[in-house]
Symmetry: C2
Subunit: 340 residues, 2 copies
DNA sequence: GCTAGAGGCGAGAGCGGTTTCAGGTGAAGA
DNA sequence: TCTTCACCTGAAACCGCTCTCGCCTCTAGC
């Protein structure tokens, strides 16, 4: 044995197929890849031999020869230990689910990466160098995604980011406006808000939307920070209610926080939606696990991730491509039925 | 241009580094991989040249040469469209989060695969052939995982499965027993259950645990199927309550269903936990989004996935390896405080 | 019957690494 | 001073596949 380890022990290679079929490697390759230049009779022969041998082309060799790996990368910045990001927030699962659905039937694979805040720069550089089919940025800051884009063009951000980076985003501002407007139409006048973390563009836009709506109605702004976690939402709601017992509505920047907020509200002896109406954001699983069911702003995350994936598969979007998805107000039980 | 496309356009290869450092490719390889056989002075020179050029070894070439790709596969059978699996059930996110955490600092990547029920056989065969570092089976049936194992040994199941397949599993039966026993100790005597889907080993074990507990206490079995979805849990609870209004406790085989069940219970005018006590299973995000907070059986999914990943990285477990993780009863608000 | 052209086919050169093997060097030991 | 040996180092084979290029055959056209 001259070599250390045979690559994939026992597995037939293209050479085995070629030999068994009595043709050259080139011909087998042509047949396998459905490329012109092989007669029908040879095609069927090669195909049957390949099937018989259980031949499966090596992804590594193929990647090396062609220069492209068929892999889509999903990249998310992570906070804290496990449970910290993917495990905790439904958003990421939805991104993965959407991307996976677009990959079905393709020979492209999906890889998941977490980049920790501490060594984000190196991580971004390393990842960007290694992208082949394309990368989806799930929650990457504008600075980092710009850096990524400079090193690798085949990338799409799923959150608002630097203008050069192709983005599929949601109309966060309109969503927040929609929510606050609905609460106002219901007759609520003390509409507080629980926001997401700083330096998160989605959170910022939702905050801006809330503020401009509040301002437009001439109401008083009442904000707290919930950090996009359930606990944060719970604590923020309790604080708000303690300080401003007159609050009669709550706009919460994500359903996870909203679920916590609802718990805090009912724990304080108030009823949802009679005393405090609540509208969340995302329409994630958290909205349907909460009790009462959360009224929320629906985001088509899966569709966005799927479309982004398809774009990457087709060569990627152009410089500065930007598509904004509309959001939808979903009314469930955490808001009272609208008066006619 | 004799070749079609250079592999990774513009990126320095090992040849560039070798030339710039005035050494051979072999030496560069030794330095990069920290293999003995290069003098310290050359090591530092090569390293600095590599850094300067921004050299990053090609994963594809490396995989081809060594025969192993550094990739862990997470495999789940999917049901329905997106949202169908990964997007809907918190379990999968936890598996991913656990696996990711074990991969941190490693050069190993994580890939996610969904195999649809229709073409499961082919999918399993294809995947098994392509496994390199190892595969984690998140929710694969015993038959399929056995088939997988026959084709590729580097695999660990995270759910109970065929005895030959290495498994890291949870003590589902003990968990169900624990839950029902607690409800019984609280004085509840009409303890119904909502189970998971057929041909799901976890669901079966939890059902068995419930039944043997009920039998042990000499109580009446009251079961319904909730299919591991929130809607299913909701509907099952409503049906159970309609048919058996005397029910005073509910054991639900996963938190997602339990969240739905709680909604159905309160919608029927009953109170949780005063009228109906509820214990879920998993301690997933659904448990903490529900209102009231769910008492549940905690499963260390993240830890299991992390440990499984580590085992795979270290060469994989032995034939028939089996580790059973203990579960823990977490008491929150959906059960009344225990009487002393 | 002869030539041109088209299409099928194989040889062979990469893709970017890893690893063996042989040679070369210098220090230690005889 | 001459071996011996350990330690570096580079040449070259190889991993499995793709793709160009040139040869060969066969058909169509004159």
């Amino acid at each position: 044995m001259s070599r250390a380890t045979p690559a994939r022990p026992g597995r037939p290679t293209i050479n085995d197929v070629a030999r068994a079929a009595g043709v050259s490697r080139a011909t087998v390759s042509r047949v396998i890849n459905d490329v012109a230049g092989a007669s029908p009779s040879i095609r069927t022969r090669v195909r049957s031999v390949a099937a018989e041998l259980g031949y499966q082309p090596s992804a590594a060799a193929r990647a090396l020869a062609t220069g492209r790996t068929r892999t889509i990368e999903v990249i998310a910045t992570s906070f804290g230990p496990f449970g910290g990001w993917l495990g905790a927030h439904p958003y990421y699962s939805r991104v993965l689910a959407g991307a996976m659905s677009a990959l079905e039937g393709t020979d492209t694979q999906l890889r998941v990466h977490a980049i920790s805040a501490e060594r984000a720069l190196e991580a971004v550089d390393a990842l960007a160098e290694d992208v082949t089919a394309g990368a989806l940025l799930a929650n990457v800051t504008p600075e980092l995604s710009m850096r990524f884009y400079q090193r690798c063009r085949r990338v799409i951000s799923l959150v608002p980011t630097a203008s050069a980076v192709p983005t599929l985003e949601v109309d966060n501002i309109a969503g927040a406006l929609m929510a606050v407007t609905h609460l106002h139409r219901l007759g609520r006048r003390r509409i507080a808000a629980i926001h997401g973390p700083e330096n998160n563009t989605c959170a910022e836009q939702r905050r801006d939307g809330y503020r401009s709506a509040i301002e437009g109605f001439g109401l008083l702004e009442l904000s707290a920070d919930g950090g996009f976690t359930r606990e944060g939402g719970h604590d923020a709601a309790r604080q708000l209610l303690d300080r401003h017992p007159e609050i009669d509505a709550l706009f919460v920047a994500c359903d996870l926080m909203a679920a916590g907020a609802v718990q805090a509200i009912t724990a304080s002896g108030r009823r949802v939606p009679e005393d405090v109406a609540v509208i969340g954001f995302d329409d994630s699983i958290a909205a349907s696990c909460a009790n009462p069911l959360l009224s929320t702003i629906r985001l088509p995350i899966e569709e966005m991730a799927a479309e982004a994936t398809r774009m990457l598969l087709n060569g990627g979007p152009a410089f500065g491509y930007r598509k904004r998805y509309p959001v939808e107000l979903i009314l469930r039980e955490s808001t009272p039925p609208a008066v006619v």
